[in-house]
Symmetry: D2
Subunit: 143 residues, 4 copies
């Protein structure tokens, strides 16, 4: 049986997103790909605003190893979307973020997914431990 | 000599946009294409929120005939962008919108462009006059 | 232990894709979202070219219920990408496509994922059986 | 009076592009933004394949100063698109590319536009002369 959609209370951090004309596909709803754009944006913006990621200078960066999304309901431009985020699994070199998208003021997720970052050396792209400051911040998002 | 960038006072209507991770290109700045996504989004969202466009039901719709953009300065994710809009030319069946993009709190446009809609019958795609209610609303944006 | 990447022999249908400047992110590789654009494109183009989907007229359409992707290796513009596709599970109203992306002439997948379509009535968006002609064609892709 | 659409004979270099499901907007045709993605892709791929651009290592790079597009006719996924390119103006530090998009086997452009690159130092982003090898190659595209 399918897991029921999550609510805002299930998530630890929230970020607002505007939608775009080009997000709607021929059926008049958000194309399934847009959800991943918002996952990506939410994770990285949290990292950048927390001072944990400088794409030009950080010695280690997160590469995306696996992502997934279940679509519960349709959303469409020009709705506003709030992304909820939590950390579900924190390993030595990888972190599993879980994310949900809420349309306008809805408390029920229209979609839920995950996003796994594996930390690698920025130059060699070989796996490395999650930096201590990143790990410490991620612990605050575990839920 | 190049025209200096416009300021917020040059525009009549404003709309806020969030940026996305995928908006930045390999040089770390907003890809030149993103500007057009925001132009498109601003024009159509204004029309939709004013009750002047229902993409499924309106008997006539605006098709894009010509667009253009001058890039004054670089912007980048995760900046917020405010789009300014004005109506520069209002013909029988076409309208020329002019738009500007302002990064975060800047009063100087990082980019300015235009977007020409030609109204066509939704079924036949043959040119038709701008509907009276749309024309009336557009007149309020002339600047 | 992680499943090793698949090869072309594991897939039943192939489609070529060009990449775009805006596909590369700030790290100089294909953004993780692009993979889903290619999955989506491959499934729907197969349907359209087989005469099984007319987005304007088909009485039933496939809505995306769940998607996922594992990233094995990096790809980048201007590489050409071949998408491989197979049908892994064919239910009454849903189908699970599995897809792989191969960079240039590589026989090893750079990414593998899945894409689940649930058939719904085009007007009401209520689940309905997969149309007989679609089902018959899908059976030819089971692998 | 509007200039008639160009033909393939008006252009000097050609590049093939596949379209994507997400390129079509709610009206079922290529969103006006996609044209710019193909312009961008064509110019940079020509530069990269000619050995004239390494986005990570080139000492000078082209920044986009101005772009524009006139839309003559509609195109839609899953059509193939051929981009035609020519050099219209070659200055000391800037080059004006002109581009056209041809749907499938059509000899009449569905859209025509331009794309102005200003060469800048990759580190400081200050204007600099077009490198000699780039200039020499661009001269071969003047038409």
């Amino acid at each position: 049986m399918r897991t029921p959609p999550g609510t805002r209370a299930d998530y630890a951090y929230f970020q607002s997103h505007t939608t775009r004309w080009s997000d709607n596909d021929v059926y008049g709803h958000l194309n399934n790909v847009v959800h991943y754009k918002l996952f990506d944006t939410t994770v990285n913006e949290w990292l950048i605003r927390a001072g944990l990621l400088d794409t030009r200078a950080s010695p280690s960066i997160g590469l995306v190893a696996e992502t997934g999304c279940r679509y519960h309901g349709e959303m469409s431009y020009p709705q506003r979307i709030t992304a909820g985020m939590r950390v579900a699994k924190l390993g030595n070199s990888s972190v599993r973020y879980e994310l949900a998208l809420f349309a306008d003021d809805s408390d029920t997720a229209s979609a839920e997914g995950f996003f796994i970052h594996v930390y690698v050396d920025a130059a060699t792209h070989r796996p490395c431990p999650i930096p201590a400051d990143v790990r410490s911040a991620l612990e605050g998002l575990v839920k």
